[in-house]
Amino acid sequence: MEDLLEIKNLNIQARTRAGVLNVVNDLSFSIKKGETLGVVGESGCGKSVTALSVMNLLPEGVLSVSSGDIIFDDVTITQLPENKLENIRGNEISMIFQEPMTSLNPLFTVGDQVSEVIKRHKGLNKDKSWVKAVELLDAVKIANPEKRAFDYPFQLSGGQRQRVMIAVALACQPKILIADEPTTALDVTIQAEILALINMLKEETGTAVMFITHDMAVVAQMADRVVVMYPGKKVEEGTVHEIFSNPQHDYTKALLAAVPKLGEMASKKYPEPMKLVGEGSSKKPQPIVGTEKPLLKVNNLVTHYPVKGGVFRRTVARVHAVEDVSFTIMKGKTLSLVGESGCGKSTVGRSLIRLVEPTSGKVDLDGQDILSLAPKDMREARSNIQMVFQDPFSSLNPQRPLFDQVAEPLRNYGTLRGKDLEERIEVLFDRVKLPRSFMRRYPHQLSGGQRQRIAIARALALNPKLIIADEAVSALDVSVQAQVLNLMMELQVDLGLSFLFISHDMAVVERVSHDVGVMYLGRLVEIGPRPSIFRNPQHPYTQDLLKAVPIADPNQRKSERDLNFKPLPSPIHDLSHDPGPSEYKEVEKNHFVLTTDCGY
């Protein structure tokens, strides 16, 4: 097969305050007709920049190609004048981006935005290109395309918007499609749908795909060949099977070791830390057993948000965020709540420490009923439950040095002062494996992983019994994620901590949990011991969710080419709505499945 796109000795420079920086170094690879090339690497490795340079869309004045050639269809496009390039963009090479929420113009209808590209390259008139646009919307499986074409982007869901972007990209049957993290911002079932759609359209049209992602599992599912990048350089290239079964470069090996693979815990009863490359590899990871003593008992927790409206701001409807949820967390064990965005898993966490006031239910922490506490006593109780949040960039106060941030809870409760306080903070920094010199630093001087360690240190300050980790590792690169996960598991063993681990990532959940609860639309649809849930999922939603998760193994590819999961219904109901209780049946020991309706 001949090369369709060839990148030769590409160098890209960034102009920063500190001077000129090479973000891509002497990069060469090629894509053949009809193949899918996965370009994989962690944030900042230059993969997205490379994609933009192919389109010559690098932000002006900030990034520029300093040397090297990009050859497309035997034409060196790096030397083409702008107007010639415009004829290629969107026509022969097209692109879809990561953020479907911001990639479409908010002020034009989607029909307008799809037909625009047809009008531009195919010279069709307005009516004809509109008809073509509706056909394309139909081809990307948007239901009722004649009507949807008149919608504005804000009226569509994230998944639908990404479908529109795909319709725009494929409108002129390009020879190559560049997909830059097209599913990163999407939920796992929607990701599965979009990936299946890209594969199906690729087979129909024979388009080559350059698939850029940080997600090894997605690469394993999609790519024919893989290029692995590590800060600005290509470190390895090969077929997807070569890369996954026989990686050569140390970085690739480390990366693969850090990726939790769904199903790899199937034979193990308890969670255990990951075996990472270069981290005391002689030691065998020990399983974390925990205890059978209950720490936190949650019964029939319900949280509704009022929706205000009208002239007098009365409550006109309610968001049913959490609907009759019950579970128990054992001392020294981890319960994971898993589900897609909007399923209410974060609200459960926030309701437990009353950052959000629950509507009803009972939360019993070591014999103390938390929901009935007066505000003053609640403050005391909060010291037993601490939280670690998702976004490492917003979870720390940018205005204060790290010492103060870790000390904040201790100062609030007045437990320690002066020298004692300082010593305690030092111990905490040691605990999360950050050098003590970091105490005087400010958050902006830290990497994402280091910030998350600070957040954990802060949560540990009051010696809590339970830590609620709300998507605590979701925003981290996979190698950093593995280190933070291992740290959390180590703390669990050393301090006997319990975790409520809230996550959307099934593979991570499989790795860290003793018990797993699956949530959908505010309900807990299935809960039980981790091995039982993953081996024998009973609820249709759990089954679909597991079906949708990509596995970081090219030998276990999903075969479905036309996935269409049920779209998420709205959790907003009018005041008269009575949701009814959740009822369960026990399918295995401690493994419960919802028998009443949850909307799925």
Partner: protein, 326 residues
Amino acid sequence: MTLLFSFIKRLLSMLLVLLVVVILNFLMLHLAPGDIADTIAQTMGGADEQDMAQLRKEYGLDQPFFIQLFQYVLRVATLDFGHSHFYNVPVFDLIMERFPATLLLVFSAQIVSLFVGILLGVYAAQNPNGLSSLFVNMFSLFGYAAPVFWTGILLLIAFSLHIQIFPSAGMRDITIENGSFFVHFFDVMRHLFLPMITLASIFFAYYSRLCRASMLEVLGADYVRTARAKGLSKKEVLLKHALKNSLSPVITFAGLSFSAVVSGAILVETVYSWPGLGTLAFNSIISRDTPVLLGILIFSTLMVTVGNLLTDLTLRTLDPRIKNAE
């Protein structure tokens, strides 16, 4: 339906604002040292005890506070703003006579400064470090720092006293008696030009700077990149995708600026003796004609709320998301 509903809602909130201004007026009168009778007596050049008592009775000052307030609101609601003791005519008639001139000045200055500001802002945004950007930045500094009455006086000296292109005062040339509509129109425009340019200069500076900034932000947005990836040229992207998006913040700001434009108009009118509410306000301060001043406050508030209503309607047609939010 939703348009009608939101229009009615806006109208009600406009009325509420006016009601609050009226109540505020009353409160200030009540709290100010001396009462209305004293103030009026002052404008008349003093009055004896008997006249004062007569005046107090006339204004119901012997009544309890809330009854007075209620009566005051009621009077204003029937367009009775009291009597100007200086001009010796009802305040309402006086204001209606001057209102159109201010309306013309305020809206023409607002429209001209928006139009030119957006044009220049869009142009400057295409070259963020170029000459036009430098000009926008320099001019916005000037517009912020130069007091509008001073700019007015300087322009007056330059283009009316030294180079006599424009008239120095008033709105019409009284020597033109019989002329066609166009003769009168041209005459008014000639008089309007300097005051309008003076008033517009500040806001033109704000709008062009804001439009440049908002355009620069929009040009960095993902959907602009998408549009470029479709193969559209820079110019097409700018005029179709970017312009519409960059307008919203400018128009929102223009709406918020309406009260500042009215404030500026008072000073500009005073400089050019433009026969509007501003000169009237100036004169009523000199002659201590409080009822006139209060009446002007109510009417200029009305003008600002109408301006805001127009801004909202413009924003609604520009952005489909606003309709949805209501």
